[in-house]
């Protein structure tokens, strides 16, 4: 037994047990602090009406009930556009937007990071600068562009701009820079085309990066992205907008609203857990012996 522990500890260099313990305790403390909103939201969704407006407010629920869930479904049972349509809208926008964004951003990042192209520094600087400009100021030009393209009031007005958001390009480029040139060169010598190098060597190596990018992009689009500005038709609106109209129903709908907020959170959490548990160590230099 003791030997097993020793063996396990030997795998990691430069680590001591007491320091590990202290750090884990610190992590646990901070983690509790960060988890407050989760606990609070779950509590809110389960609270009966009288407890919800209890003063002073409580974080934990005393008499949990599922009434709020039924309330929410009752509201949607009578709504003009069925909830399944809102759900479809949200899923459609979030999945297509995320998928397209990850692929396009990676494809654009690869040449910026690894190929010799004239003016790639200028291009990349522009990408970074675009992250720093206030979205409020660019909103009017953006609206005009979408109108000119004839995409107003369609799914595409949300999805296509999401493809081209500069955050992903920046992230992917930074990760691809870490790949040693030697791997790419040796692949070239072995006769691989640029496409092959990209799909079989570069993308598997930066797997943690695009899994992370999926989280960012999905979270952004799940809330509906820019749909509030560009989409008017009720049947094209995402769930976020539908839930917002519930909240507008006043204080009696607080219970339904907190359930709605909880439901809105479940899918991103699922995506998050899926992607984070797949972020495994990829050896960017495996297969290299110099």
């Amino acid at each position: 037994m003791k030997l097993a522990i020793q063996l396990r500890r030997q795998k990691k260099v430069n680590r001591s047990l007491p320091a590990d313990m202290i750090l884990i305790i610190i992590l646990a403390g901070l983690g509790t602090f960060m988890a407050i909103p989760f606990v609070y939201m779950i509590g809110m969704a389960l609270k009966p009406l009288d407890e919800m407006f209890l003063f002073p407010p409580t974080i934990l629920v005393r008499n949990p009930t599922l009434n709020n869930f039924f309330d929410l479904f009752n509201i949607f049972a009578n709504s003009w556009v069925p909830i399944s349509r809102y759900m479809f809208n949200t899923f459609f926008i979030a999945f297509l937007g995320t998928g397209g964004h990850v692929i396009l951003a990676s494809m654009a990042a690869y040449p910026l990071a690894k190929l010799d192209i004239k003016g790639k520094k200028v291009l990349f600087t522009m990408v970074v600068l675009s992250l720093m400009f206030s979205p409020i100021v660019t909103s009017i030009p953006n609206y005009l562009t979408i109108t000119w393209l004839g995409m107003l009031n369609t799914y595409w007005s949300v999805i296509i701009p999401a493809f081209a958001s500069s955050l992903g390009l920046f992230l992917m480029k930074q990760f691809m820079e870490q790949i040693p040139d030697a791997i790419i060169e040796s692949a070239k010598i072995d006769g691989a085309s640029e496409y092959r190098i990209f799909w079989n060597i570069v993308m598997p190596t930066v797997k943690p990066a695009w899994l992370t990018l999926i989280i960012f992009s999905f979270n952004g689009l799940w809330g509906g992205g820019m749909s509030g500005t560009f989409i008017y038709s009720e049947q094209l609106k995402p769930m976020g907008a539908a839930f917002a109209t519930i909240l507008a129903g006043g204080i009696a709908r607080t219970g339904a609203m907190s359930v709605a907020a909880l439901i809105m959170m479940i899918v991103p959490i699922g995506v998050f857990i899926f992607s984070q548990s797949n972020v495994i160590e990829t050896m960017s230099t495996s297969g290299m012996k110099d």
């Binding site: 960060m34 600068l129 206030s134 990760f175 990066a209 979270n219 972020v279 230099t285």
Partner: protein, 263 residues
Amino acid sequence: MAFVLSFTYYNILEPPKWIGWDNYANLFIKDEIFLIAVKNTILFAVITGPLSYIACFLLAWLINELSPKVRAVVTLLFYAPSLSGNAYLIWKIAFSGDSFGYINAFLLKWGFILKPVQWLTDPKYMLAVLMLVQLWLSLGTAFLAFIAGLQSMDRTLIEAGAIDGIKNRWQELWFITLPSMRPQLMFGAVMQITGSFAVADIATQLVGFPSPQYAAHTIVNHLIDYGTLRFEMGYACAIATVLFIIMLGANQLVQKLLKKVGD
């Protein structure tokens, strides 16, 4: 486009009218509130920016040592504030100004204060409270990028370092981990700069808009004020340009600092 508009008087309905540097002159000479906003924003960014950047990195580094399953759960916990939309409104209850807000109730009970503190309306505390909430909220993009970066790091470097005489984890962090994560550090820095200079939303939600005595007024708040409430787009563009230049300066500075890491 925004840069050109910043030299015009543009109210969205009429075509823009060229007025040269007038917007900028007004901004710095006549507009006292703008100067308050600049002061607040810089104060905010200088304190929360580096703090949350370092916190992001250290936490990512510590979490990275856990086993994959545990890591996913812990990461989720720390990312929760960014994931849960407007859950930061819970802080509104916590810092509520009556004696029932969590913080006030706690402090009263233990005798630290004799009467409730107006956390969200007293200009003295407002900015500090906002900074705390922002710190709590800011473990987002950069944090996840760091975790992914640590995962794609070359393990053999650490072993080689141990043979070459690196004695503890702090040396390992400084001489091996940090230098090999430079691209991610750069990404995190840019995200942190854009995030901490563009704070506006939490201020609006927690202390109202405009905040009492403009004590928590930031540049972006000012921008929203002129751009979407008063429809003076030209002026708003001038504000955006100033903000952009400040961010650019911060970016240059951070790049210089990052070059020194691990030397």
